[in-house]
């Protein structure tokens, strides 16, 4: 498959691993921001292969994990209304809110439909004029352009029965928040290639100047990731901190102008709560006043103002520590024993982009045996 196979080439990957090992004079601490990158690093064994050379801290870039439980609860309330058809990306369905997931709500008779694109939700609104179709607009800068287009399309079609529950988040403010957190250890970032495809990477120039950490725009296949890591290590070894694009087959400096304009027209930047991380200044998007009539929160006049809601975490789940990169999933006492993808305690174990799910799915068989509280117990009782 073009653009995949050449970036999964074992020999090319092996050469890069050797190069990184030769370049590093000490063990550098890097953060890959995106959950897709976390999965790829673990799936292809890169994290383990480089363990002596770089410490990879997994960032909060899993859209499912950082969507506040309160927003999921709200989506559930909408789904249970008789006049509403709630539409969502499939990944959101298994994630628990404060008590249950959208899958539970669907089983209890709630109207929840998986769509692949927000434009499919607009089509459903056209098809069912007697129903209010609400789309659960979650995700980073990668999904925001499509939801913005959906709103504009609904406006052009004059649809009165389409609305968004907006829970969009922005990557860069979260990276800033991590660097400002006392005790932060991150020395370099692998920036999320898909997000930069939309946003470009000009905005990182000031970021790099302010924080003096390298930001390397990185893709998702093994060779992409290793090239990103090598560039980051090279900069750190030579005392540089620059913005570099190692994902040039997808990312341009200026990003995708059309997508950015669509987002700019429909959304404003807002301080929003992240699950497990609290309110991040400028950390999300909300509808502009001129599109407020498409805001499901308003249309259904549901509970209070989100900014005042407390940050809820499950008592036994240190998801906040994992999302902020302060705890490795496998170091969690619940990992693999009380918390597995079958019975998750927190969002990072649920989502296909979550760091805990990645650790569980791609764990090393040999490591299991040495972990008394880990996956080995789960295996032994099967």
């Amino acid at each position: 498959m073009k653009y995949v196979d050449e970036f999964r080439d074992t020999r090319a990957a092996r050469r890069l691993v050797d190069d990184i090992r030769r370049t590093a004079t000490r063990r550098w601490v890097l953060m890959e921001v995106c959950g897709g990158q976390t999965h790829s690093l673990l799936r292809h064994g890169i994290e383990e292969e480089l363990r002596e050379t770089v410490e990879l801290i997994h960032g909060p870039g899993c859209p499912v994990c950082v969507t506040p439980a309160e927003d999921i609860d709200l989506a559930q309330q909408f789904a249970l209304r008789e006049d509403v058809l709630l539409t969502s990306f499939g990944d959101m369905l298994r994630v628990p809110g404060t008590r249950k997931s959208l899958l539970d709500v669907r089983a209890a008779g709630g109207q929840v439909r998986i769509v692949y694109s927000p434009l499919d939700a607009v089509a459903l609104a056209q098809k069912h004029p007697d129903r209010q179709v609400v789309f659960f607009a979650v995700g980073f800068e990668t999904t925001a352009p499509a939801t913005a287009l959906a709103v504009r399309q609904a406006e052009q079609l004059g649809l009165e029965n389409f609305a968004l529950l907006v829970s969009h988040v922005r990557v860069q403010p979260a990276m800033e928040s991590i660097l400002r957190t006392p005790g932060n250890r991150v020395e370099g970032f692998l920036a999320a290639g898909h997000v930069c495809t939309i946003t470009g990477f000009d905005s990182y120039v000031d970021f790099v100047r302010e924080f003096r950490v390298p930001v390397v725009v990185t893709g998702f296949e093994p060779v992409d990731l290793l090239q990103g890591i090598r560039e980051c290590v090279r900069q750190l070894e030579s005392g540089r901190a620059e913005v570099t694009n190692c994902y040039a087959r997808s990312v341009r400096r200026e990003g995708n102008r059309h997508a950015l304009v669509a987002v700019e027209q429909v959304y404003r930047i807002a301080d929003v709560p992240w699950r497990g991380l609290g309110v991040i200044p400028s950390g999300g998007l909300r509808l502009r006043p001129e599109y407020a009539r498409f805001d499901a929160r308003r249309r259904f006049e549901d509970t209070g103002c989100e900014e005042e809601l407390p940050v809820i975490t499950t008592p036994d789940c240190p998801a906040a520590e994992v999302l902020a990169g302060r705890m490795r999933p496998s170091d969690c006492p619940q990992f693999g024993s009380r918390c597995t993808p079958d019975s998750p305690l927190g969002a990072p174990m649920v989502s296909s982009e979550g760091a805990c799910a990645a650790y569980f799915r791609y764990r090393t068989p040999a490591v299991d045996a040495s972990q008394p509280a880990g996956a080995s117990q789960q295996e032994a009782t099967r």
Binding site: R43, R94, R361, Y362, P365
Partner: protein
């Protein structure tokens, strides 16, 4: 209703647009009989159906018989590469075939939702008839029920299959030995991905196409070449290849080691699975088998399978080893072993 649209003798009430199934079709009275006469018996001409006895009698063979039963609730009813009708025949025939039996007869029970357009039923029944002919099985008994609108999703089918056991079938997964080789008869995950993409209306180009097909000849080929050295065969349906290997690991008390580079995956399934974040190892096949064979016949077996058009994509994907902590592992890009977990729950496409 216009005069021209009304045809005397039509067994089905007409609502002005197209004829539909009504509750009356399931109540055992005249409409039921007419439906069975015009739609069922006209298509399936086996001897027992000619007289509609309470139970079909067929000529036995004196030997052992194999029986299997399965229900089909797939949505949508039609998908690239097949439909609920052909699937109901292939699925049941394949369960018989991989157990080492020759499929002979099937039953066909229909649960229809009130309001189902008659042409949809006709299309499905035509497909059942075609598949039965292709698989050389006779439809010998059946049943029709109609449930109120909303109590079913269009239609459900149930088929029971009966086959005759000839020779000595493969002994089963408990006979697998360390060193035995795991073979698949073709690219994996095609049926599940085709149905998922059709259900969610994901417009991939090319759209994944189901592999739904009878495995009878593929099994015959394998048994002919590797006679006595085939430990067990399964069709990798729900849960895909991963589910089969986990069951075998339980039964054999061994582990299985796969090599990602050797897994056959068609470009359409590969594209969809990369985009959706769904591993083809967990996705259902309906015309692809997995077999455990002795190492010294593996190469021969794969060569013979590849000469058969339906299993042209056959490949060795791994082997059985002494039991380790993980029942199934896979070797990926940098040569590292990782566990393949048992499939859980529904496949949910990822966000980005």
């Amino acid at each position: 209703m216009t005069e021209s649209s009304w045809q005397p003798g039509c067994p089905v009430p007409i609502d002005g647009v197209e004829p539909r199934i009504t509750l009356a079709h399931g109540e055992g009275a005249r409409l039921t009989r007419q439906l069975i006469d015009t739609e069922i018996r006209s298509r399936f001409r086996s001897a027992p159906l000619a007289t509609l006895p309470d139970a079909a009698h067929v000529e036995g063979t004196g030997g052992r018989i194999a029986v299997t039963s399965d229900s089909y609730v797939v949505s949508p009813l039609f998908f690239p590469g097949g439909d609920i009708g052909s699937l109901a025949v292939h699925g049941t025939v394949n369960d018989l075939a991989v157990s080492g039996a020759v499929p002979r007869w099937i039953t066909l029970s229909l649960i229809l939702e009130e309001g189902l357009p008659l042409p949809v039923l006709q299309r499905v029944l035509d497909s059942v008839a075609r598949a039965a002919t292709e698989c050389a099985v006779d439809v010998i008994a059946g049943d029709t029920k109609v449930v109120p609108r909303g109590a079913a999703d269009g239609m459900y089918l149930n088929t029971t299959g009966i086959g005759t056991v000839i020779g000595s079938p493969p002994p089963g997964p408990q006979a697998i030995q360390p060193g035995d080789v795991i073979v698949v008869s073709g690219p994996i995950g095609r049926h599940g991905m085709a149905v998922l993409c059709a259900r969610e209306e994901l417009a991939f180009d090319p759209a994944p196409r189901s592999d739904s097909a009878p495995l009878t000849d593929v099994v015959k080929t394998l048994l002919r070449v590797a006679d006595g050295n085939v430990r067990t065969i399964r069709d990798a349906t729900r849960g895909g290849v991963s589910a089969v290997l986990h069951e075998w690991a339980d039964a054999s008390e061994l582990s299985f080691r796969l090599d990602e580079a050797r897994l056959p995956v068609s470009p359409d399934v590969r594209g969809a699975s990369e985009l959706l974040g769904i591993d083809p190892l967990y996705v259902a096949c309906e015309g692809t088998l997995v077999a455990a064979v002795a190492p010294d016949v593996a190469e021969q077996a794969v060569e013979a399978l590849r000469r058969h058009p339906q299993s042209a994509g056959a490949a060795v994907i791994g082997s059985a080893v002494e039991r380790t902590i993980c029942p199934v592992t896979i070797r990926r890009t940098l040569g590292r072993e990782q566990p393949v977990d048992e499939p859980t729950g529904a496949m949910l496409p990822r966000i980005c």
